[in-house]
């Protein structure tokens, strides 16, 4: 009986936890509750993923109102795959944040922090499971507003300006999405995505729908930080608390990419998006510029967190590049990289969070000699870095392999070359950290760093092992991505 209610439970569980956390006085209990809820919803996500993997899709009618009148939650393999990533990352990051947040935030703010984290989590899950266009906007704002609050909690005063900047750009993006949805509603009179997909066929040669398409493209690209709309991201990631950065980097932009896929493939249809509106002509150059220029900028950063943030913008470029090929293999590569990048950036930012706890800094020169005193943390950072570069036996290799194959299949040899070149640039910027950490002489006045506590090492290494395991046994990730790409190309 309860299994029928799983789609709504995945959203309701963290949503109900948030106000409870906000009322708590004890930061330890708030943390324990958040961990429990994150694990429960991970369990829900696994069950939903199994159902979607075996048979088509799971549909849930909220309040018993049948779609298209009521709000429908609709989970096919693509949703379920993204859901698995978001819940998996939360199940890892929330336990980690216990020690990390304790060190970075004043005690009285911690329960409120967990309330914001759970709200952000709710929003991301909601965007992922819903089959209703307006619902996407509501959940987007729930996750965005709590994200701004969490970023502003960073210790540096620049966290405030970063959060403000993100608030302005994020709200413009969300309002653009709202305008796009409104214009679609004017023409079709429906908000249900499956219904929209059907009815848009008759009106998609009108100017209104083209304008809606434009607004949605810009709005979603702002949220997923596609170059040149990425300006909010580096500062937000650099100055947010470590656990927040790890959570956002591995989930928030991924959910935005999912939104892009859902709107352009399912609602508008691949035919309209690519053949009529030539979306690929916009996305591909921007993705290429993002990959190259942001990798280049990452090379010159002295702050490791900022370096990884720029690298994130470049990696989002890979996902969009895969999508912009408009072929089933490119789409598979994009979806695969969406999942894999979540794993590797999660591992890297978590390892960095442990380094921050012990050294108190994210500047490269302050990490001198840390590899000898924190071997497990630095080991995790190295494996995460190898995965980011795309070395065989890691997940990074798998998705880059598919991306290069898709580029060659489409006849874009120079793009395949560029992917390899930017991977080499990743070698350089990861090596800069590794070199200082292992071969740099320890600073005399630096605090004596010891190994990170077990409650942080365990989550980090769970992710590292996932990076390695899913890099060797690819049946789960590649299988799900292929299935999702097939479904997207075919419509619902």
């Amino acid at each position: 009986m309860i299994s029928v209610q799983l789609p709504i439970l995945s959203v309701v569980i963290p949503l109900l936890g948030a106000p409870v956390c906000a009322l708590m006085r004890s930061s330890r209990w708030a943390w324990a509750l958040s961990v429990a809820l994150a694990w429960i919803s991970f369990g829900v996500a696994v069950v939903l993923f199994q159902q979607a993997w075996l048979g088509g899709y799971v549909s849930y009618e909220i309040g018993g109102w049948p779609p298209p009148w009521g709000i429908e939650y609709r989970i096919d393999i693509l949703n379920a795959f993204v859901l698995l990533l978001v819940c998996g990352m939360a199940a890892v990051v929330v336990p980690f944040s216990g020690r990390s947040i304790e060190a970075e935030l004043p005690d009285d703010r911690i329960p409120l922090f967990y309330a914001a984290l759970l709200l952000c989590y709710t929003g991301l899950l909601g965007i992922t499971v819903t089959g209703d266009a307006f619902n996407v906007f509501v959940f987007l704002e729930i996750s965005s507003l709590s994200t701004y609050a969490m970023i502003a909690l960073g210790r540096d005063r620049r966290a405030l300006t970063a959060a403000y900047q993100y608030l302005i750009m994020g709200t413009i993006g969300a309002t653009f999405i709202l305008i796009g949805i409104g214009l679609m509603y004017v023409m079709t009179g429906t908000l249900n995505m499956a219904d929209l997909a059907e009815r848009l066929q008759q009106v998609n040669n009108t100017r209104t729908i083209r304008v809606a398409f434009g607004f949605l493209t810009v709005g979603i690209c702002l949220k997923l930080a596609l170059f040149p709309l990425h300006l909010w991201l580096p500062n937000a990631y650099t100055f947010a608390p470590s656990a927040v950065t790890a959570f956002l980097a591995s989930t928030a932009t991924k959910v935005a990419v999912y939104m892009l896929l859902r709107f352009f493939y399912t609602v508008f249809g691949a035919e309209f998006s690519f053949a009529t509106m030539n979306l690929d002509l916009i996305l591909m150059p921007l993705a290429l510029v993002a990959i190259f220029s942001m990798s280049l900028v990452a090379l010159f950063q002295d702050n490791v967190k900022r370096m990884l943030a720029y690298s994130s913008v470049a990696q989002i470029g890979y996902m969009i590049l895969g999508i912009s090929f408009g072929s089933i293999n490119g789409l598979t590569a994009g979806i695969l990289h969406l999942f894999n990048h979540g794993l590797m950036k999660g591992a890297l930012f978590l390892a960095l969070g442990a380094l921050v706890l012990r050294t108190g800094s994210t500047q490269i020169q302050d990490l001198a000699g840390v590899g000898r005193r924190m071997p497990w943390t630095m080991g995790a950072f190295v494996i995460g870095g190898l995965s980011l570069i795309g070395v065989p036996l890691t997940v990074g290799f798998v998705s880059k392999w598919y991306l290069v194959a898709a580029a060659i299949e489409a006849g874009y040899w120079p793009i395949a070359g560029l992917i390899l070149l930017t991977s080499l640039m990743a070698v350089v910027y990861i090596w800069r950290v590794v070199e200082v950490a292992y071969f740099g002489a320890s600073l005399a006045e630096a605090p004596v760093a010891s190994e990170a506590p077990l409650s942080m090492l365990l989550p980090i290494w769970v992710l590292v092992i996932a990076n390695l395991y899913l890099g060797i046994d690819t049946s789960l990730t590649v299988g799900a991505a292929t299935m999702a790409a097939g479904q997207l190309m075919a419509g619902w």
Binding site: F134, F137, V138, E141, L145, Y148, A149, A152, R157, R158, L160, T161, A162, A163, Y164, Q165, L167, I168, T171, I172, A174, T175, L178, I179, G182, Y185, V186, N235
Partner: protein, 117 residues
């Protein structure tokens, strides 16, 4: 006539552009929030206008053959109003904290203190 028939939509575009321009051009952080507010409010007008049906009345069940306006956009925009209020209050709270940390709410002066902004 056509222009007057689409009056609400012209108003929407005018307000949207005004708000957007204020957000981009203003260097005062509070003014940016005000611009953002105008920008969001313009979208409310878009939604409310699309719910209007010629000679339609409020959607309350009545005797006889009555034309009702579409209530759904109004309901949707109630949610968007709540979102707008939340965004504004969060934005203003951030501005207060920025003022405490930097002693100014002017973008250029903050930029002098912290080049990253």
């Amino acid at each position: 006539m056509n222009f007057l028939g689409l009056f609400n939509y012209w108003l929407f575009i005018l307000l949207m552009m005004t708000g957007f321009y204020v957000v981009i051009s203003s260097t005062n952080l509070v003014r940016k929030i005000i611009g953002l507010n105008i920008f969001q409010t313009s979208v409310f007008i878009l939604y409310i206008s699309m719910g209007k049906i010629d000679h339609g009345t409020a959607p309350i069940l009545m005797e006889g053959d009555v034309v009702y306006s579409n209530p759904l956009p109004h309901v949707l925009i109630l949610t968007a109003i709540v979102v707008g209020v939340a965004t504004t209050s969060l934005g203003l709270a951030l501005v207060v904290r920025i003022k405490e940390a930097y002693g100014t709410v002017d973008e250029t002066e903050i930029h002098i203190q912290d080049p990253e902004f």
